[in-house]
């Protein structure tokens, strides 16, 4: 297996992008990544393209996105495939790209993830996301992903003493960072008073799936992000600092929450992280910056424990102590996370890697840069923890 590096990244601002089609967004992010890698003008830019997307077949009535994208970008006759794996579609597309390069079959691979969710009403978007639940045991009852997260949160609070204050602190931290991120959907800092302490908070922050409230949930977004991969030995001749894929892991768990022996145990996160750390020959304390899949505030806390940054029951306390802020023990979601950057489901796994590449190249403005970051980690969480990918990236000095 060859070492694989990221040599180019591209992302477009997430949000409501009424003026752009899904294909427009995928093309814009791809071109930015190709240009960043110095391949944008090459006759044969890449050997293969992987597109991560969850819902174009339902939301845009469009399939075979990858075939369409290589044509649009004039990358023909590059191999092209669309990867659908729920909210982990982006991470799965990246993993497939890594394997293709590591195997020696392809040298240059473009991976792009994108989703256009604001084209339909919230009613339809909620239903679309809920199609990943079990059709007979869950979906028919009207369960939604916020609903599953609400039930998980109630159990996690009961078992580990997570408090509403801890969840609020995650929301405040991530939105304060999102306000500094030009790619973020929600560029608005929020206060403890506004969403928790004052009587206004009842109106500002209504329940969505109790005990979770509006500001515990990520927005529904449009967006796309892309990366270019190649073998490490070829990466060194490109202009940007190569970022090595030091390790990755993927694991699955039961589709329904109720079949897990302990529904608060996110086994797939633990197993995927263990595989990634083993491959990278690192431990959690070696990580300097992390992008966790905070589709709901509780998930940032739970994932920070399941990947090994904190012991079970300590993640919420760590948030209150500022350990996960920029400058803290392990800065988490300095991009604003899904909570503020947004969650166009197919784009998220790729966007997390783009953010870590920005961090490891030391390209971000001071107020968002983790000082001298060398190693970063991402968690892309599919379903309700039933398909999880973890990536560990490392800066390679030229």
């Amino acid at each position: 297996m060859r070492d694989v590096a990221v040599i180019g990244v591209g992302m477009i601002p997430f949000g409501r992008r009424d003026e752009d089609s899904l294909m427009d967004m995928l093309a814009m992010a791809s071109l930015k990544a190709l240009d960043d890698a110095g391949l944008g003008d090459k006759e044969k830019a890449v050997d293969a393209v992987y597109v991560g997307n969850m819902g174009a077949g339902i939301l845009q009535h469009q399939t075979a996105l990858a075939s369409s994208l290589v044509d649009r970008l004039s990358l023909l006759p590059a191999a092209a495939e669309t990867v659908e794996n729920g909210p982990a579609s982006g991470g799965s597309a990246v993993k497939n790209g890594i394997l293709a390069v590591a195997s020696g079959y392809y040298d240059y691979v473009l991976v792009v993830g994108g989703e256009k969710m604001r084209e339909v009403t919230g009613w339809r978007a909620t239903d679309f996301v809920a199609t990943m639940t079990h059709p007979l045991a869950e979906y028919i009852y009207g369960v939604t992903l916020p609903g599953l997260a609400g039930m998980f949160t109630r159990l996690y609070m009961e078992k580990y003493g997570v408090t509403p204050e801890m969840l609020v602190e995650v929301a405040i931290k991530n939105q304060s960072m999102g306000a500094l991120n030009p790619y973020a959907h929600v560029e608005m800092a929020i206060s403890r008073e506004g969403i928790y302490e004052s009587w206004h908070s009842i109106v500002n922050n209504p329940p969505v799936a109790d005990p979770l409230r509006l500001y515990d949930a990520c927005p529904v977004s449009d967006g796309a992000a892309a990366i270019v991969l190649c073998p490490l030995e070829l990466a060194k001749k490109h202009q940007k600092t190569p970022i090595l894929i030091a390790g990755f892991g993927q694991a699955t768990d039961t589709q329904t929450l109720q079949e897990r022996d302990d529904p608060t145990d996110l086994k797939a996160v633990t197993l995927a992280a263990q595989k990634a750390f083993e491959m990278a020959k690192m431990k959690p304390s070696d990580i300097h910056v992390a992008e966790l899949h905070d589709a709901f505030t509780i998930l940032e806390i739970a994932e920070s424990e399941h990947v090994g940054f904190f012991k079970k029951g300590e993640g919420g306390k760590a948030v209150l102590q500022g350990k996960t802020r920029l400058g803290g023990q392990i800065p988490i979601n300095v991009s604003g996370g899904l909570k503020a950057r947004g969650h166009p489901v197919g784009a998220t796994g790729v966007a997390q890697i783009v953010e870590i590449v920005f961090q490891l190249r030391h390209e971000l403005p001071k107020e968002r840069q983790v000082r001298n970051a060398q190693n970063g980690l991402t968690v892309n969480f599919g379903g309700f923890g039933n398909n999880v990918l973890v990536f560990i990236l490392r800066r390679v000095e030229q």
Binding site: T121, G122, G142, P146, M151, R154, A209, Q258
Partner: protein, 124 residues
Amino acid sequence: MIKKEFEITAYKCTKCGRIHYPYHDRCLTCKNRQFDIMKPQGDCRLITFTKIYNLPWGFDQRYLIIGVVEFENKIRALGQIAVDETYDLKLGMTLRPYWEPVRVQYGENVYGLVLRPLDKQPLQ
């Protein structure tokens, strides 16, 4: 109302005894392919619950209360809880199961598990 039989079928592994719902082709624990069919029995214990305000397409109502329960014979399932407010619910409390319409699809009632506290039974 036409009363319907419970259509929940669970599967108990003949080798290790693990109970599965929904169906799996191989046991989640020992990978055995033989199962005894089980039906839910008795009342249920509430494991967790939530009140969902942003409902999916197909639900024309303000909110929905759902929960996961465990039946007396250890089958676990998700269902709708027929209470107005979650104040009436506590983890570990006993709920009584019913098989009733849970949504309408293509103009037809879809039946499923509906749960009620013992002191909030429907009028006969």
